[in-house]
Symmetry: C2
Subunit: 85 residues, 2 copies
């Protein structure tokens, strides 16, 4: 049932997840580039564990990132707003 | 960017999420039926808010259910293990 390449192996709890749901449309041309930059950034962040991302053929996507602590998430959000938005 | 039919409208925090990631294979014939029963059940549970579910063409799926409280999640898990597993 599991696929090592795609399903995150998470450590023993507690750990923390950020869920991002999005509907891709024909009009968000810049979205793919921004998402790529965000994913490149996330791998470098302290406390980052794993990311899982699925998008279906209707363009609906769910991305879940897993973190060691809530502080790591706050730090990532502050950093990514500064760098990307 | 949003689609009312598919992206959950969640209330003001705090609320709680359960993330379920799965890789569908050719061998799990009973899986679809069990998933259908679980989704039918979840809508009846106290404290249930919304569910989002995406599966891509590789069979990788992420389902996120949102709940009013951790107690509601515990109750749902106890109930669903009893009824389904």
């Amino acid at each position: 049932m599991t696929s090592a390449a795609t399903i995150a192996k998470t450590p023993a709890p507690p750990y923390y997840a950020v869920i991002f749901t999005s509907q891709r449309t024909d009009f968000d041309q810049g979205y793919g580039q921004m998402a790529e930059r965000m994913i490149a950034l996330v791998f470098q962040m302290p406390g980052f564990l794993k990311v899982e991302s699925v998008r279906n053929t209707d363009g609906l996507g769910i991305t879940v990132s897993y973190w060691q602590s809530e502080d790591a998430i706050r730090n990532w959000k502050a950093h990514s707003e500064h760098r990307i938005a």
